[in-house]
């Protein structure tokens, strides 16, 4: 089978199988699957608002997917995109609150840069420890995630706290907010999606066209051969973690500057972890990651609409889980497809 063709077909068929399985469950709880699924589609692509929602949800998923995917390409398992995203957004929020005096042309890139630098630095801790002491990055990044969570919680209930409501940082300056591409009612689609796509293109170029990408991949595939070829292994491990962290930080930046305009306790909301499955569904390929993120983003948006017809939100988690499972074990789907063909 054509490789590219099956890369598209498998997720689609996985979704169909997942829907078939959940049809049973929906019938069991006494709802009409057809109404449910038409709500799912309506909710994700059926209207301007739905599309806006889908884009908003897809944006950070692309970026965390890229972050984790980049790590995989470089031979590191960055399970810490969550923490890097939080730290990037948190510190950027702390600064960007005071950027009122700067014009957007400076304030926006500067805020992005801070978030990326913080994400990079935070991830580089794990990279540094791996390179210098051999500490496993899965252990260190899991720990760093928790530290980031508690640190952020401390910051927004303590030093950065504003107002009496939500634990949150002050609103960032208007000049540091991302321009709005599309506004549907109160739903604003910011330029974040453009940033995410640019980041994907950047990652593609970095990995496939640049000398740095060559070195990072070499270290990821075979550190001994890389060293033999004059490539510094520890430098590239740290660099790879840092770039991965920068992408996660960027995810934090787009959420901060394009969606919430301030740091909130739940800003990351598991998107760093989502990045793992998105990266792998997208086969660590920037273009694949965009589509994987879109798939998950659309499922999540559509799920909210499904609630209006009485299907609880947990149903969608199950559907998502099954889709991801089937994409991972794609041979199940392939086998089903081949059998179909044979019987025909």
């Amino acid at each position: 089978m054509n490789k590219r063709f099956s890369a598209i077909l498998i997720p689609i068929i996985s979704v169909l199988i997942a829907l078939a399985i959940s049809t049973v469950i929906i019938l069991l709880i006494g709802k009409n699957p057809l109404t449910a699924y038409s709500a799912l589609i309506r909710g994700s692509f059926g209207s301007k608002q739905a599309i806006a929602d889908t884009i908003i949800k897809t944006t950070p998923l692309i970026l965390t997917g890229l972050a984790v995917g980049f790590g995989f390409r470089a031979g590191v398992f960055n399970i810490g995109a969550e923490g890097q995203m939080v730290m990037g957004a948190l510190i950027a929020a702390a600064f960007a609150g005071n950027f009122g005096f700067l014009p957007p042309i400076i304030a926006i890139p500067l805020t992005i840069l801070i978030a990326m630098a913080v994400g990079a630095g935070y991830a580089a801790i794990a990279g540094f420890l791996k390179a210098k002491t051999g500490a496993h990055e899965v252990v260190t990044t899991i720990m760093l995630n928790w530290i980031a969570t508690y640190f952020a919680s401390y910051m927004v209930t303590g030093p950065l706290k504003v107002g009496s409501g939500t634990p949150k940082s002050p609103e960032i300056a208007n000049s540091a907010q991302l321009p709005i591409l599309m506004k549907v009612g109160a739903i604003e689609v910011s330029a974040g999606i453009i940033i995410a796509v640019v980041a994907a293109i950047f990652m593609y170029i970095l990995l496939n066209k640049s000398t740095t990408g060559y070195e990072i991949k070499a270290v990821g595939f075979n550190p001994y051969a890389a060293e033999y070829g004059g490539i510094s292994v520890s430098k590239n491990i740290i660099l790879a973690m840092a770039i991965s962290g920068a992408l996660a930080g960027l995810a934090g930046a787009t959420e901060l500057m394009g969606v919430h305009h301030r740091f909130l306790g739940e800003l990351s909301g598991g998107k760093g972890f989502d990045g793992i499955s998105i990266a792998l569904i997208g086969q660590n390929n920037p273009i694949g990651i965009i589509f994987a993120a879109l798939l998950i983003g659309a499922l999540r948006t559509g799920s909210n609409e499904m609630q209006f017809v009485g299907v609880p939100k947990h149903m969608v988690m199950i559907i998502q889980g099954i889709v991801i499972f089937l994409v991972a074990a794609d041979r199940i789907v392939r086998t089903i497809m081949i059998r179909k063909k044979v019987t025909k």
């Binding site: 640049s210 060559y214 075979n222 001994y224 051969a225 033999y228 510094s232």
Partner: protein, 507 residues
């Protein structure tokens, strides 16, 4: 009476007909050699006998009985044992554990390690296969690993033992020992299938020979009635020059020098102890020695891959002692590593990326930031053409080339760097005679171009035929330095076992 008959075996892989109606018959109690070029289909054939692959067509008969071998389990039941071309050992387990794995002695619920050790020891003594039963595989030399593999088959009571290229990684002494063992096994009524690329070995040990080429059997020969030339012709389809001719070395200019070098191994023990020597332009210095006597560490230290504890290294008179691999390459050092899969290649990289490793950041392959793929592709095509790398496909992944072709790719890359100094370690390990001939020619061509060459090899024949000077190492020290034309294999062999030159000369 045949112990094994494989009749009309056909085995296809996607795009490759690996065995094309192969018929081979092995008599009980004989040592039967199978020879053939790289990729001729020898391992594939043996893997089917051992149940790892299943023939698309054809029959397998054991002791005259037709059998179906679904997996190694069936093979073991039929008394077949196999020592694979790439060892099948569990690095983190001990020798005894590896040997008994799969049919472990038990005491109550426990795995009876005592009994296992006892049985292994008995077996090892019976056949003179010395092993350290309690050592972990990752800590023992390849020669011992080989013995472990043989013990594995004996432990399972194999009567038919397949040895797939067992000598590729052994020293001449170890090869001698292995032959001793094989003779012992033969006298014990065991049938042995022996695959090798080294014709003199085949001549020495086998009773009969099957030659394969491109998936077909091209000849069945009685060893006593043939000669290496004839075998080689069957294998390659043409005459092969097994001896090389070279002009005497002239230059006096030092290109490389090491003084009192001290290097430690992975366990922190001194592996290279105060070694000094130099290499001149257009000169090949061969280092002979039994594996594990510091050669690996020496090469790694020289090429910047291992920390140097003490001593100095000079490159064209310049102190380069603690230089990184990159700095050394910049100065003109090239390195054909002994382990092509560990150091030489990135299996996941396409041929074209493997070919620029080490020069990837330099023009014309890169402008410092971006790679120039057009140049890279062009360059790769040239190298593949010049070094006859097959398949001639620049996008082929490094790991998907056959071993011989991987080696050609690495050799091509390093030679085309136009180095001033070339370190070559085990350049022809596992290669067929045609490929060996080719690589030797390339090394000599570099010598003609005034490159200083350090050659490390366990093949004494290779060392003798290529080197201008031979240095012998034992336990990290130099035992002596000789000229090939002024010494004998025996003398070098004695030094390799720890006698200094003077003592060796004294006899």
């Amino acid at each position: 009476m045949y112990a094994v008959e494989m009749v009309n075996i056909v085995k296809k892989f996607p795009g490759v007909l690996a065995n094309d109606h192969v018929t081979i018959r092995i008599k009980k109690g004989e040592i039967h050699a199978i020879v053939g070029e790289n990729g001729a289909g020898k391992s594939t054939l043996m893997n089917q006998l051992y149940g790892l692959y299943h023939p698309d067509e054809g029959d397998i008969l054991i002791n005259g009985q037709k059998v179906t071998i679904k997996g190694p389990k069936d093979a073991i039941k039929n008394g077949i044992g196999m020592v694979h071309q790439h060892f099948m050992l569990v690095d983190t387990l001990t020798v005894a554990e590896n040997i008994v794995l799969g049919s472990e002695p038990v005491k109550g619920l426990n795995f009876d390690i005592k009994e296992a050790r006892k049985q292994v020891k008995e077996l090892s003594e019976k056949y003179g296969l010395f092993v350290d039963v309690d050592a972990k595989i990752e800590d023992i030399p390849v020669g011992m690993q080989q013995r472990v593999e043989i013990l594995k088959t004996l432990y399972r009571g194999a009567n038919i033992i397949i040895l797939d290229e067992p000598t590729a990684v052994l020293t001449p002494q170890e090869v001698e020992e292995l032959f001793e063992i094989m003779r012992k096994l033969k006298s014990d009524e065991k049938t042995i299938l022996f695959i090798s690329h080294k014709l003199h070995e085949v001549m020495e040990i086998s009773d009969r020979i099957t030659v394969m080429r491109l998936g077909k059997v091209t000849g069945e020969l009685e060893t006593s009635k043939t000669n290496p030339k004839e075998i080689a012709r069957h294998m390659v389809g043409r005459d092969v020059v097994l001896r090389v001719e070279k002009a005497p070395h002239k230059s006096k200019e030092k290109v490389f020098e090491i003084k009192d070098l001290v290097v430690k191994d992975n366990r922190g023990l001194v592996a290279v102890n105060k070694v000094s020597f130099d290499i001149r332009k257009g000169e090949i210095v061969g280092i002979a020695g039994v594996a594990g006597n510091g050669q690996t560490e020496l090469v790694e230290a020289i090429t910047g891959l291992r920390k140097i504890e003490d001593g100095k290294i000079y490159f064209e008179g310049k102190d380069v002692t603690h230089f990184t691999p990159k700095q050394l390459r910049e100065l003109g050092l090239a390195h054909i590593p002994e382990d092509r899969l560990k150091h030489g290649l990135i299996e996941e990289f396409e041929a074209y990326y493997n070919v620029i490793l080490g020069q990837h950041y330099k023009p014309p392959f890169s402008n410092g930031t971006f790679l120039n793929h057009k140049e890279i592709f062009e360059y790769t095509k040239n190298i593949m053409e010049e070094f006859d790398v097959r398949p001639r496909r620049i996008q082929h992944l490094g790991g998907n080339f056959s071993g011989g072709n991987q080696q050609k790719l690495v050799v091509g890359r390093e030679i085309r760097m136009n180095p001033k100094f070339l370190v070559v370690a085990q350049p022809t390990r596992g290669l067929d005679v045609g490929a060996i001939e080719f690589i030797h020619k390339q090394i000599l061509k570099m010598r003609e171009m005034d490159v200083g060459i350090l050659l490390i090899s366990m093949e004494l024949e290779e060392i003798f035929s290529l080197s201008d000077r031979i240095i012998v190492m034992y336990e990290g020290e130099i035992m002596g330095e000789v000229k090939p034309e002024e010494t004998t294999v025996e003398e070098v062999g004695l030094m390799m076992t720890g006698q200094r030159l003077v003592e060796a000369r004294r006899g």
